[in-house]
Structure formats: structure tokens, C-alpha cells
């Protein structure tokens, strides 16, 4: 009985050690690849920054108006820093994928190949999102300024609604591109968009009919009054 217990203990310990001996090199390989990837990413990032600084990219982007476009989109970083960070993360993610492959876990086998195959769709989806985000900001700002100049109450709310409408539309387009639950996305977007428009039409048509007339009338009246009393040029 005592021998059996010892054997069991020894066997299980041996088993763990054997399994560890089998996995440890792979884990070490993963850690080494991550470390190497991180070092390589940092070096390439620094190299990119130096090269782009030598090419005077920030000043060129300012001249071409690209920096202003980024600022308008809420990105405060310089284009050089942005590209440096992009290079860093691309290299690090590649190192991670290679490391995961090195683990030789059945669940992750071929993951890198799948991701590489998926990359074009991912890039297109990202571009759709970036374009949507820029358009959303542009239209929201335009709406905000127009509504404030027309002295419409709740201008920020209207601008936020416009921003989210465009973002949701861009998000739906990006998800469709990725092929993620395509039918569900289309259906959900159609219902949400149609519902919003219908709700607004009903709210404005039934609830705000008088208000709408009053706003339009007072606006026209004000314009006439102002035209009579003030000249700007």
C-alpha cells in the first residue's frame, strides 16, 4: 500500500517533469521570441523615427495639411511618432504570432496563416473606419456650427446624433467587410437606421409640428428684421 502511494506520487511527479520538459523549450522559445520581437520593434521604431525626422516628414505633413486633418480627427501626435508606433506594433504582433506558432498547441496551429490571409479584409475595414471617423467628425462639426448660428437649442445633441449615425454606419460597413455576422449586422443596421428616421419623423411631424412652424417662422422673421436694420459690409 505504502509502495503504491509512493509510486503514484513519483509517477505523477515524473509525468509533470516530462510534460514540463516537453513544453519548457517551447515556452522559452515564446518568451525569447517576444523579447527579441520587442527589442527588434523598439530598434525599428527608433530607426523609423530617425529616418522620418531626416526626411522632415512632420514639416512636410504640416505643409500638405495632413497634420491638420489628424488634429481635426482628435489625433494630437506628430505623424512621425504615429508611424514609429505603427512599425513597433506591427513587428511586435508578428513576433507574438511566431511565438504562438512555436508553442505547437493544436488550438493555435495555423493561426498565423489565418491572420495573414485575413489581413487584407482587416486593412480595408480599418480604412473604412478611419474614413467614417473623419467624415463623422467633419459632419458633426458642420452641424454644430450651423445649428448654433441658427440659434437652435440643443445643437451639441444634434451634432452628437450626426456623429454617431455616421460612426454606426461606418462600423456596420467595416463589420460587413470582415464578414462577421454579415446578415445580422445588415439587419440590425437597417432596423436601427430605419427606426431612428421613423422616430424622428414621427416626433417632428406629430409632437413638434407647431414648434417646427414656429422655429421656421421666427427664423424667417428674424432674417427679414435683421436685413432691414443691419448691414454688414
Amino acid at each position: 500500500m505504502r509502495e503504491t502511494w509512493t509510486d503514484i506520487l513519483a509517477n505523477s511527479f515524473r509525468g509533470v517533469v516530462e510534460r514540463l520538459a516537453l513544453v519548457a523549450p517551447r515556452l522559452l522559445a515564446l518568451l525569447a521570441l517576444i523579447l527579441l520581437g520587442w527589442i527588434l520593434a523598439a530598434v525599428l521604431r527608433r530607426l523609423t523615427l530617425r529616418l522620418l525626422a531626416a526626411a522632415d516628414l512632420d514639416a512636410r505633413c504640416a505643409r500638405w495639411g495632413l497634420s491638420a486633418i489628424l488634429r481635426r480627427g482628435g489625433i494630437r501626435d506628430a505623424p512621425t511618432a504615429l508611424l514609429g508606433r505603427l512599425v513597433f506594433w506591427i513587428v511586435l504582433v508578428m513576433a507574438l504570432l511566431t511565438g504562438v506558432e512555436a508553442l505547437e498547441i493544436p488550438a493555435t496551429a495555423g493561426l498565423a496563416a489565418v491572420i495573414v490571409r485575413f489581413l487584407p479584409n482587416l486593412v480595408v475595414a480599418a480604412l473604412v473606419m478611419v474614413a467614417g471617423w473623419l467624415l463623422a467628425n467633419f459632419l458633426a462639426q458642420r452641424t454644430l456650427i450651423g445649428a448654433v448660428n441658427a440659434q437652435v437649442a440643443g445643437a451639441p445633441l444634434i451634432a452628437a446624433a450626426v456623429r454617431w449615425l455616421v460612426l454606426v454606419f461606418a462600423g456596420a460597413a467595416a463589420l460587413t467587410q470582415l464578414g462577421i455576422a454579415r446578415e445580422m449586422v445588415l439587419l440590425a443596421f437597417g432596423i436601427a437606421f430605419g427606426g431612428t428616421v421613423l422616430a424622428l419623423a414621427l416626433a417632428f411631424g406629430l409632437g413638434g409640428k407647431e414648434l417646427a412652424r414656429e422655429i421656421l417662422e421666427s427664423r424667417l422673421r428674424k432674417q427679414e428684421e435683421e436685413r432691414d436694420k443691419l448691414t454688414h459690409i
Binding site: 488634429r71 458642420r142 454644430l144 448654433v148 440659434q151 435683421e226 436694420k229 443691419l230 459690409i233
Partner: protein
């Protein structure tokens, strides 16, 4: 020239020329007013320039309201002047193209003096025509600009932004940079036609301002002449305030880029030589809607802050916050704070910190606040103090110039 004028027009013009004096009337949907303008111009050329070869040229850039038919009807009556021609330009309906066509005709006909009178300026009289052209013909000036006797509630963008900023930039305190009429010497016409500005955006809405800026920046002799009261019959169409700011302030800011070297070296300002009786600023109309303008300013301060934060630094914004708490009757937007706001907008426009159209439209509530303050000051002041109010605005813009110069990259 052939690309602007339709076929056959040149031959007709040549048959009329050469002329000594040419008055061009650019029109765009001015059917209601063009006959009145022609009455004043025609009588002026006939009576004041008798014995000289003259021509009035209506250049229409694509009216849809029968402006040219109105001109023909005027010609078919008993016009005070026979030498009138009307031309319709092909291509896009741009005021700048009509102005360029007038200048081209003046050069083609070798006119010594050329005047431009807007097709909506119904208050033009024979005296106006003479006052715009005499200083040119006598060699006193290359550019003659009008001054008007106006109420404080008239031309508020001119008195609070255009005139003081241009004076600070280019060193001459002209009162009406965009006055609706002006006189040009042959040499200035030639120089303007050589410039490439006609090819850019400036030609669409900023041609008037550009001509004046070019004369000021090049040091050409400029004379102002008082012509009396200004009355216009504006063409139908959209004319909301934000669009006016885009079309007038936008070109002014764009011209700052073009003439940077000129304005950076100018220090101080002097009034140009003035002819005729002095112009006067009259108290504003009582019913000017100051309360609504203050409300617009407050709403801008509340809702447009995220946009203004991209244009103005915290230091400028902190000068605006207390103004939002003032009651309408005590509302005052001091000229130094206003001049700083305009400087920050000019810098942001130059650096393209946000779409230029958005930037200029977002100036609307601030401008309305400034106008409310200006009208309040003018209403409270005696008639003697009104010119002093204008001097204070001009002084504030001159004081701001160093700030602008230091930050303009």
C-alpha cells in the same frame, strides 16, 4: 480676353474705342437695380466728362433674372448716355470674372481711368462718378475709394473688422475696403491683370478686396473721396451672415498669406489723402436687435467651445468667459479682446487648424457679440465721440499686430 468675352464682343468694343474713361458695371441678378445705376453713371459721364471719349460697360456674369433685358430696356428709353454696351460672359457665374472682364476692356480700349460701380449700388449719382475718376485723371491717385456717411448700424463688419485689420496690416486707414465702387488708374489696371490671383479662389469672392490690397501693399497712391450716403438694392438669394463672413473675411485672411512680406514690415498706420467733405458716423437705428445678438454670443460660448478651443488659446478664451455673464443692456466686448479673437482666427486660418469654411462660420456668434457691444457703445455715446470709438477699434488692432507677427509661421 477671348476666353472671357463671347465671340463678336471684342469687335463691338473695338468699334467704341479707344476711350479715355470707362465705367464698368459688374452685374449678377441685378435686374431691379441696374437701370438706376445706369442713370447715375450715364448722367455722370455725359455731364462731367463732356468732350471726352467715354464708355459705360455692363458686364453680366450669368444673371437669371433678366438683367441684360433691363439694360436693353433702359437703352431703348431716353438714356442720358449713348455709349453703353452690355456683355454677357460665358462660363461660371463669378463676380471676379466680371471685374476681370471690365479691366481687360479698359486695357484693350487704352482707358486712362476706369471706375467699377456695382450693379446694386442704386445711390450712385453723377457726382460720384466724377469724384471716383477725377483724382485718377489728374494723376493724384492710382486707386480711389469711396467713403460714406453711414449710421453705426450700417457696415458693421467693415467698421469692426475689415477696415481696422487692413489699416493695421497695410498701414493705411481706409474706411471702405469693399465699398461697392472704386476708381483705377491705367497703370494699376495693367498690374492687376498681370497677377495670377485671377486663377485662384480669390477671384470667386475676393476680387474687390484683392485689388485694394494689391494697391496698398505695392505702395500705390490711394485717395479716398466722400460720396455721401450708400444705398444698395441687393440681389435676391441666400445672404446669411455666416456666408458673408466666409466670402469677405476668408479672402482677407487668405490675402494675409499672399502679402505676408508687405504687412510684416509695416509699422503704424496713416489716413490716406481724402477729398470732399469728411464722412460721418451717425448714431445707430434704435431698433437694432442687440438682445438677439448677445443671445447668439452666449449660445456660441456655451455650445461652440469645443470648436473655439481648436482656434483660440486658453488665454483668449478666458477673456470671453466673463462676457457671457453680462446682461444684454450692459454687454461690452472690448476692442482689445475682439482684436485678439480676430488675430487668433487669422492664425488658425493660416495654419488650417480646421476646415476654413467651419472656422469662418464659427466666428459668427463672436462677431454678433462684438456688433452688439459696438452698437451699445455708439448708442450711449454723443455724436462727437463716435469717431473716437472707431479709433479705439483701430488702435486695438494695431496693438495686436505684434502678437500676429510673432506667431505667423
Amino acid at each position: 480676353m477671348e476666353s472671357l468675352f463671347p465671340a463678336g464682343t471684342l469687335a463691338a468694343l473695338e468699334a467704341a474705342g479707344p476711350v479715355e474713361v470707362l465705367v464698368g458695371i459688374p452685374t449678377l441678378n441685378h435686374a431691379r437695380s441696374v437701370a438706376g445705376v445706369l442713370d447715375g453713371v450715364g448722367a455722370g459721364l455725359t455731364r462731367r466728362f463732356a468732350g471726352q471719349k467715354v464708355l459705360a460697360l455692363v458686364v453680366d456674369s450669368g444673371s437669371q433674372d433678366g438683367t441684360l433685358e433691363a439694360v436693353r430696356a433702359w437703352q431703348a428709353g431716353e438714356p442720358p448716355l449713348g455709349a453703353v454696351q452690355a456683355v454677357r460672359l460665358s462660363g461660371p457665374s463669378q463676380r471676379g470674372r466680371a471685374i476681370r472682364a471690365v479691366l481687360m476692356a479698359a486695357r484693350h480700349l487704352n482707358a486712362s481711368a476706369c471706375a467699377l460701380v456695382d450693379g446694386d449700388l442704386v445711390s450712385v449719382t453723377p457726382e460720384w462718378v466724377e469724384r471716383l475718376l477725377r483724382p485718377i485723371l489728374s494723376g493724384e491717385a492710382d486707386l480711389v475709394l469711396p467713403t460714406y456717411t453711414r449710421a453705426a448700424s450700417e457696415g458693421t463688419l467693415t467698421t469692426n473688422l475689415l477696415a481696422p485689420l487692413m489699416a493695421a496690416l497695410y498701414g493705411r486707414r481706409i474706411q471702405q475696403p469693399v465699398g461697392g465702387c472704386l476708381g483705377l488708374a491705367r497703370s494699376l489696371v495693367a498690374r492687376l491683370l498681370e497677377a495670377e490671383a485671377w486663377m485662384g479662389d480669390l477671384a470667386i469672392h475676393g476680387a474687390d478686396l484683392w485689388m485694394v490690397t494689391e494697391a496698398l501693399a505695392s505702395g500705390a497712391p490711394v485717395v479716398e473721396t466722400h460720396v455721401g450716403h450708400r444705398r444698395v438694392h441687393p440681389a435676391p438669394g441666400p445672404s446669411d451672415l455666416a456666408t458673408i463672413l466666409v466670402r469677405v473675411v476668408g479672402p482677407l485672411f487668405s490675402l494675409m498669406e499672399r502679402y505676408r512680406e508687405a504687412w510684416e514690415r509695416v509699422r503704424g498706420s496713416v489716413p490716406p489723402p481724402r477729398a470732399g467733405s469728411p464722412s460721418a458716423l451717425l448714431p445707430p437705428a434704435e431698433e437694432a436687435p442687440a438682445e438677439r445678438m448677445v443671445r447668439a454670443f452666449r449660445m456660441g460660448l456655451k455650445d461652440l467651445l469645443p470648436v473655439w478651443e481648436q482656434i483660440m488659446p486658453e488665454e483668449t478664451l478666458s477673456r470671453l468667459y466673463p462676457l457671457g455673464l453680462l446682461p444684454a443692456e450692459e454687454f461690452r466686448f472690448p476692442p482689445p479682446a475682439w482684436a485678439r479673437v480676430v488675430s487668433d482666427f487669422a492664425l488658425a486660418h493660416h495654419e488650417r487648424r480646421l476646415p476654413r469654411d467651419h472656422l469662418l462660420r464659427s466666428l459668427t456668434p463672436l462677431y454678433l457679440g462684438r456688433v452688439a457691444s459696438f452698437l451699445g457703445e455708439a448708442r450711449a455715446a454723443s455724436a462727437d465721440r463716435l469717431p473716437q470709438i472707431l479709433e479705439e477699434i483701430g488702435g486695438a488692432f494695431e496693438a495686436e499686430k505684434e502678437y500676429l507677427r510673432a506667431r505667423w509661421r
